[in-house]
């Protein structure tokens, strides 16, 4: 027995210690430092931070407009703008304060080989874990094209698995027929964990111009509007994960402690916060405290004890 007392919100995620179950989501918080511009915001309030999707070569991303607010949601089509893996590893990672939180790379690519090359580069870096983004809806090749095909998903995971021993988190797309089947295949291919879900594909139209508002015509919908969808997907993926002890970062529209608790109960071990930061940048302590208060009220010592405690109706 480890005599050191584990704090209520602390958890072991694939062998890494998260100080909180809150994970800041890829694409929402740049390369880890951006939100600290805001007074009162601290990376220490997050268990981990997923960096912006990174490809082998720099990418300029999509043309404007890249964003459109919709009822309780946001459509985005950034198009994986990033400075390339070498720049991220050589210029950005050394400037991050790894004593504050855990940093997770988000690996993207247009080809299987690109996923492997980027994973290999991050494997040889101080990054704590690697998220494989096979669910980006805003690029023409790779991304969701791979993620919606269980066979291809598994091939990407297996190929990345072969080049790294760091924890491998597969980010699953909600835009597919059977997310649980896909998860099963990815577990067999060597995925250590899942991020569930990426954005839902969506569109918004300017009726005066009769044109899509988003430059890329379509984009990924995030925010509170997608929470019920995300919750069900987490529940479904958990059914295949629990036997293998594979943790899930539940994500999609979480903006309150109650939202976070729903995901934990549905089967998530950690919970992602993304779009909610755009609304309330200082929301993290509030969600952490809300989870803690709930645990106290229900006599739960460690947040991990909440995972998958859902009891279904008969």
């Amino acid at each position: 027995m480890n005599s050191k007392k584990i704090k209520p919100l602390e958890l072991n995620f694939c062998g890494i210690k998260f100080d909180s179950p809150l994970v800041l989501l890829s694409g929402c918080v740049g390369f880890g430092e951006e939100y600290t511009r805001i007074k009162g915001f601290s990376n220490t309030d997050a268990g981990a931070i997923c960096l912006k999707g990174t490809t082998l070569e720099p990418r300029l991303g999509n043309p404007a407009h890249r964003l459109c607010e919709t009822p309780m949601g946001l459509i985005n089509a950034i198009g994986l703008q990033n400075p390339g893996a070498a720049y991220v590893i050589e210029q950005i990672l050394p400037a991050l304060d790894f004593s504050e939180t855990r940093f997770i790379a988000n690996v993207s690519g247009s080809t299987l080989e690109e996923y492997v090359q980027v994973t290999r580069l991050f494997d040889d870096s101080p990054i704590d874990a690697i998220e494989i983004n096979i669910s980006c809806p805003n690029v023409k090749e790779g991304g969701v094209v791979f993620g919606n095909d269980p066979e291809m998903s598994a091939r990407v995971v297996a190929a990345c698995r072969a080049v790294t021993n760091k924890p491998l988190i597969t980010k699953l797309s909600p835009n597919q027929t059977n997310i649980a089947d896909n998860a099963q295949r990815c577990i067999e291919a060597g995925s250590d964990a899942f991020a569930v879900i990426n954005t839902l594909m969506g569109m918004a139209i300017d009726v005066e111009k009769r044109q899509p508002i988003i430059g890329n015509n379509q984009g990924g919908l995030s925010g509170p509007a997608i929470k019920p969808v995300a919750l069900l997907k987490v529940h479904q993926v958990y059914q295949v994960c629990k036997a293998h002890n594979i943790p899930i970062i539940g994500q999609g529209g979480i903006s309150t402690a109650e939202d976070a608790l729903e995901f934990l109960i549905a089967g998530a071990s950690a919970v992602g916060v993304g779009t909610a930061l755009f609304y309330e940048p200082l929301i993290l302590p509030e969600i952490n405290n809300g989870i803690k208060n709930y645990m106290q009220r229900h006599g739960i010592d460690h947040v991990a004890q909440l995972t998958g405690t859902l009891s279904l109706n008969d």
Partner: protein, 291 residues
């Protein structure tokens, strides 16, 4: 990057004054002491227009009153956000994030600043004028403002003569007059005392009347609609003048996290997509790629 920490503040700002003008324009003053103290010309705020629309909208700052802790804006209703904002009453609070962004930078080498504001691009030029009047020893600016809806102030005849401008072009912004800053107005709507034409036409007339020695002291600062900025940029190119322009784009986080508000910018390393929020909103006009 660590030195950028804690530079942006969140304030729940009470509406002190909210007053409509013609052309769906509004004057808004809020109590926001931190932003009032820290904002500089060109920086902006993200403002929540209504609870039903949780994403804040970017709004440029027209003036700050650090002593009273207030910030002034003029905005025009252009979409859902500004429509909801226009319905907010005095006494209610708005959630502000700011100040954000790279401001305009002045250089005493360019002692003849030419400020050009079009429509909703007028407010940041007022803020910059406020800074220039405090350094009147170094600068002798001209402010040109254009609008196709009635100006959000009552124009008055200028007490300052600008050599070379057509007769009768005498309308000015009274606030700038009070500050000792020369301004002129342009429109295609025939408003009295205004120059009949584009801001760039009047700017060109003024530039052509300067000696070449004077022209070398001119730096342009501009904010306004995209076509106007492109035209002003071309003017700066033609006269080989430095130019700083303030851009806008749909925005989500406002702190550089989402890369949603990017614009194409030419850099020594090639074309880059720069974030309007934290890399801008003020860019070197010569680097901006206009589509």
């Amino acid at each position: 990057m660590l030195n950028q920490r804690n530079s942006i503040h969140i304030e729940e700002a009470e509406i002190i004054t909210h007053q409509p003008f013609a052309g769906k324009q509004f004057y808004l003053q809020v109590k926001s002491p931190q932003i009032a103290t820290l904002a500089t010309p060109g920086s902006f705020v993200q403002l929540r227009c209504a609870a039903s629309l949780p994403l804040r909208r970017p709004l440029s700052i027209m003036k700050t009153h650090p002593d009273g802790g207030t910030v002034d804006f003029i905005y025009k209703v252009v979409g859902k956000g500004t429509q909801l904002l226009s319905q907010q009453n005095t006494g209610s609070t708005l959630s502000l994030l700011g100040p954000i962004g790279q401001p305009f930078t002045l250089d005493p080498k360019f002692s003849l600043p030419l400020l050009i504001g079009g429509g909703v691009g007028i407010p940041p030029m007022v803020f910059l004028s406020d800074q220039l009047r405090k350094q009147s020893k170094h600068y002798n600016p001209l402010v040109i403002m254009g609008s196709e809806v009635p100006f959000p102030f009552t124009p008055a005849p200028s007490q300052y003569i600008v050599p070379g401008l057509p007769d009768g072009v005498i309308a000015a912004m009274p606030l700038l007059e009070d500050w000792g800053i020369t301004s002129r107005l342009t429109t295609l709507q025939g408003y009295p005392g205004c120059f009949e034409g584009y801001v760039t036409d009047l700017a060109k007339t003024w530039l052509d009347n300067l000696t070449s020695e004077q022209q070398q002291k001119v730096a342009i600062f501009a904010c306004g609609p995209h076509p106007m900025l492109a035209a002003v940029n071309n003017l700066a190119k033609a006269y080989q003048l430095p130019i700083q322009i303030s851009l806008e784009e749909f925005m989500a986080c406002g702190v550089g996290g989402c890369a949603g508000c990017t614009v194409p910018i030419q850099t020594p390393q090639g074309l880059a997509m720069k974030r309007v929020c934290v890399d801008g909103p003020v860019f070197n006009g010569h680097d901006v790629v206009f589509s």
